[in-house]
């Protein structure tokens, strides 16, 4: 006999646990089914652990570069096992926080693998046996996993995915990153800062494909300057074991090359986790790319079944999943919420950071037939100078007639923090004038956003106009 509950959420990542907590707040008797660890990829294998190591990497670089201000630090020694232990403490502490939040909001966490059955049944299997839950509403939040590249089987040591690459106890001397997108470059930058010799192979002709090319170019040139080798329009062909590690052949514009590495990260994309859920049996339909089809209230094609997060399609962002999780929960709770957000900010924790929201210049030209664009370089920012982080700029894209803010693209210090203001502005339908007329505290990095806005309305103070 199935146990009756109001709602079951499958997957305890940043989409699922947020959805479950909201359901609990709305008075729904909710069970959160988690296969492995609360927090999902984001907390355990992605955002959080990578940010910890990225922060460590940046500190190492800053220490190395501190000679100019009179700080001598020859022979920086990194005990990477201690770094990892610290990272794990951060992750564990946050995971404990989620567990507590679930408990306090009346969410029951059940560990196991879930499978959907006809009649609103969710079958949960674990080592202890199986349990049937009957729920009026089910939220699928199973996320996504890394795609394996043909010929490059993950072995957890030499050839690794984005999860395993963060769990190593040593810093590779020679790291190859296949895929110059968000994950590849974040991890690549991090290990480069920690002392690795970095090589990147990217299929497209720019790193961070899809991002503003000027922004991507700053990251590209910075990595090169720090000694990385980057093969654009390149493709890894095959790995073979060698004495010192793994020898990888790849094609690039300059012909076929073979080099030896201590570790290879394959970061060529993610695929939705839909296998084994029994979606077909309950009539949940997928789109052509294999993501679960949902409407703006996160309803799947089967009544009572909702889906959120990576499993419904890109962009693969924790904050997108969280918002969708809240939408699904509120819809289940009888509210009229819908996912109608206009601004989806995205942050890339490379060094320098990249953050973006809204239309790129190219998208604005293509969809609206034109736009106005202005930039403000961090070299002209007093705060950036004092922080010794002058690499990069803020770029604003606005509509021609009303100067409404369409997009903001930042490469440089604290880009990931500056972008939130731009997201709010786009969500509110603000014009660049609104940004320019808002007082920004001095001296701070977000002043760069205000200055770029002033440039669009023709009144920049801290740059000379021609």
């Amino acid at each position: 006999m199935a146990r009756r509950v109001d709602a079951v959420v499958i997957g305890g990542g940043p989409g699922g646990y947020v959805s479950a907590i909201r359901l609990g707040q709305l008075g729904k008797k909710t069970v959160l089914v988690e296969k492995q660890r609360l927090g999902g990829v984001c907390l355990n294998e992605g955002c959080i652990p990578s940010k910890a190591l990225i922060s460590a990497g940046r500190l190492a670089r800053k220490i190395r570069e501190a000679g100019e201000i009179g700080f001598e630090s020859t022979g920086l020694k990194i005990d990477f096992q201690k770094t990892q232990a610290w990272k794990n403490r951060v992750v564990n502490r946050l995971r404990g926080g989620i567990k507590l939040l679930c408990e306090k909001n009346g969410v029951e966490v059940v560990y196991g693998e879930a499978e959907l059955k006809a009649g609103n049944i969710v079958l949960v299997k674990n080592s202890g046996g199986a349990e049937e839950l009957q729920a009026d509403s089910t939220v699928i939040a199973t996320g996504s996993g890394p795609i394996e590249l043909k010929g490059f089987s993950f072995d957890g040591n030499l050839i690794v995915d984005s999860t395993a690459v963060l769990e190593q106890n040593n810093i590779p001397k020679r790291l190859l990153v296949i895929g110059g997108g968000i994950t590849g470059l974040e991890v690549g930058c991090m290990y480069q800062n920690l002392g690795a010799q970095l090589t990147v192979v990217e299929l497209m002709n720019q790193v961070l494909p899809g991002f503003d090319p000027e922004v991507a170019d700053v990251v590209y040139k910075t990595l090169l300057k720090r000694g990385a080798k980057i093969y654009l329009g390149g493709e890894a062909v095959s790995p073979e074991a060698s004495d010192g590690g793994v020898r990888v052949r790849f094609r690039s514009a300059s012909g076929e090359v073979a080099e030896e590495f201590d570790r290879v990260l394959v970061a060529v994309g993610r695929k939705p986790n839909t296998n084994g859920l029994g979606l077909e049996d309950v009539g949940v339909k997928l789109d052509q790319k294999g993501f679960i089809k949902v409407d703006e209230q996160m309803r799947s094609t089967t009544s009572g079944i909702y889906a959120i997060g990576d499993v419904v399609g890109p962009p693969f962002l924790a904050h997108k999943a969280s918002r969708e999780g809240i939408v699904a929960a509120e819809v289940i709770g009888g509210m009229s919420t819908a996912f109608d957000n206009r601004a989806m900010p995205s942050a890339v924790f490379t060094d320098p950071e990249v953050a973006t929201v809204g239309l790129t210049e190219e998208e604005a030209k293509r969809t609206l037939g034109g736009c106005v664009v202005e930039r403000f370089p961090f070299q002209a920012s007093g705060r950036a100078l004092t922080e010794r982080e002058t690499n990069g700029f803020v770029k604003i894209v606005a509509d021609v007639q009303r100067k409404r803010l369409l997009g903001v693209h930042i490469v440089g210090p604290d880009a990931s923090d500056i972008i939130s203001e731009a997201a709010l502005a786009i969500e509110m339908g603000a014009s660049v004038e609104d940004l320019a007329l808002t007082i920004h505290p001095h001296p701070t990095l977000p002043e760069a956003l205000m200055e770029a806005a002033e440039a669009i309305i023709g009144a920049p103070i801290h740059v000379l106009t021609k």
Binding site: I147, G179, G210, P314, P315, F316, M428
Partner: protein, 398 residues
């Protein structure tokens, strides 16, 4: 080449229409002038034809949806163009796995300017925010605009409304919605009062019986309406302030020189008021025929915009269902309306004797901003006289 067909302005002052029925679907071949869609606007239903030949690529408005004039409702491509081509992805699935990372999501181009909290409020109040008129800069929609939209009774999106247990929610659409709007407007805009009079219609009943065969020969069923129209026209000629409207902006009374008499018709979906134009120039039997035709069209939702425009005075016949008396609501911007009630045999004092006569009540509502009580009383008295002695009305038979 994709042709985007926008909902045309099908009549003066029409801002939106309800999609009643599509005659075509995605993938259909259409030829020029082939009917595409039935649209209900301001009390009338019109068929809109295709301005060109081609293939239907996409139907953008659903049946039952309220669409603003000027918005694209259907796209038509070249003949033979495949509708399906558009929905195919530009990248093949096999290429996808090698696309390294998703590009940042592009925001939907803001079609309406409204803050997230305002958009949420609209959803909570079941308001389609695209239908709200923004009063802010550049048409920005404020929370106040959303609330005003609701209190103005213009909420059309029934989509998100949730019925409480024990109730059913029926979307207010088409004729019913127009009725709601115009009745509320009339009550709000005018100062109405009602006069009721008893009319001895014995002679009228006899006259109708006499004339029935003549009407039948012409293929028309003779009701009392044509007689009433005749009486009203005569009364209006004598009291021109009743065939009038008030121009609020200019503070002028507009005296109408045409006698266009609206006749309220119950369509089953709500009330419509088709208009008999130039009733003063038409004979009884012609009026009978015209009223019959208009009523028929109204019930089949075939009235054109011309059929309902330009009225100067309205008549509502409540007939057998009408009770003893009523307080009819004026068909704004007209200034008076006449309601007629059922005919009963009643005792009447005539020449000092109690006799049994055919008696009916008439209820007339007036806009007191223009019509004073004395004028209303005289007009009502005149109508009573004309209906009691219908000889004059009948003399203009043809």
């Amino acid at each position: 080449m994709v042709f985007e067909f926008k909902l045309p302005d099908v009549g003066e002052g029409v801002a939106e229409g309800e999609i009643r029925r599509w005659f075509v679907k995605v993938g259909d071949q259409v030829s020029e002038n082939q009917p595409l869609v039935e649209v209900m606007t301001d009390k009338v239903t019109v068929e809109i034809s295709s301005p060109r030949s081609g293939t239907v690529l996409d139907v953008l408005a659903k049946e039952g949806e309220i669409v603003k004039v000027g918005s694209v409702i259907i796209t038509i491509g070249e003949k033979g163009e495949q509708a399906a081509q558009r929905s195919q992805p530009t990248t093949k699935p096999s290429e996808l796995s090698t696309v390294p990372q998703p590009a940042p999501i592009a925001p939907k181009t803001p079609s309406v300017l409204a803050a997230p909290a305002t958009r949420r409020l609209a959803r909570e109040m079941s308001v389609d925010i695209t239908q709200v008129r923004g009063t802010g800069e550049d048409g920005r929609i404020t929370e106040e605009d959303v609330r005003r939209h609701v209190s103005a009774g213009t909420v059309t999106a029934a989509a998100a409304a949730r019925a409480e247990v024990g109730e059913e929610r029926v979307p207010l659409r088409g004729v019913r919605r127009r009725m709601a709007e115009s009745m509320a407007m009339s009550s709000k805009m005018t100062a109405q009062f009602t006069l009721v009079e008893e009319v001895d219609v014995t002679n009228l009943v006899a006259a109708r019986e006499t004339l029935k065969p003549a009407a039948e020969k012409k293929g028309t069923k003779l009701t009392y309406i044509p007689f009433i129209i005749k009486a009203v026209v005569q009364g209006l000629k004598e009291y021109p302030y009743l065939n009038a409207s008030l121009d609020d902006d200019k503070q002028e009374v507009v005296l109408k020189k045409r006698y266009n008499i609206g006749v309220a018709v119950d369509t089953g979906e709500g009330l419509v008021v088709p208009v008999v134009k130039d009733a003063d120039r038409k004979g009884l039997l012609d009026l009978a025929k015209e009223v019959e035709e208009l009523a028929h069209k109204a019930r089949e939702s075939r009235l054109g915009l011309d059929d309902i425009k330009g009225g100067t005075f309205s008549i509502t016949s409540l007939g057998a269902l009408g009770g003893l008396l009523a307080t009819p609501i004026i068909h704004h911007p007209e200034v008076a309306i006449l309601g007629i009630h059922r005919i009963d045999k009643r005792p009447v004092v005539k020449d000092g004797q109690i006799v049994v006569r055919d008696v009916a009540h008439i209820s007339l509502s007036f806009d007191h901003r223009i019509v004073d009580g004395a004028t209303a009383g005289r007009f009502t008295g005149r109508i009573k006289d004309l209906l009691e002695e219908p000889g004059q009305l009948i003399s203009e038979l043809v």
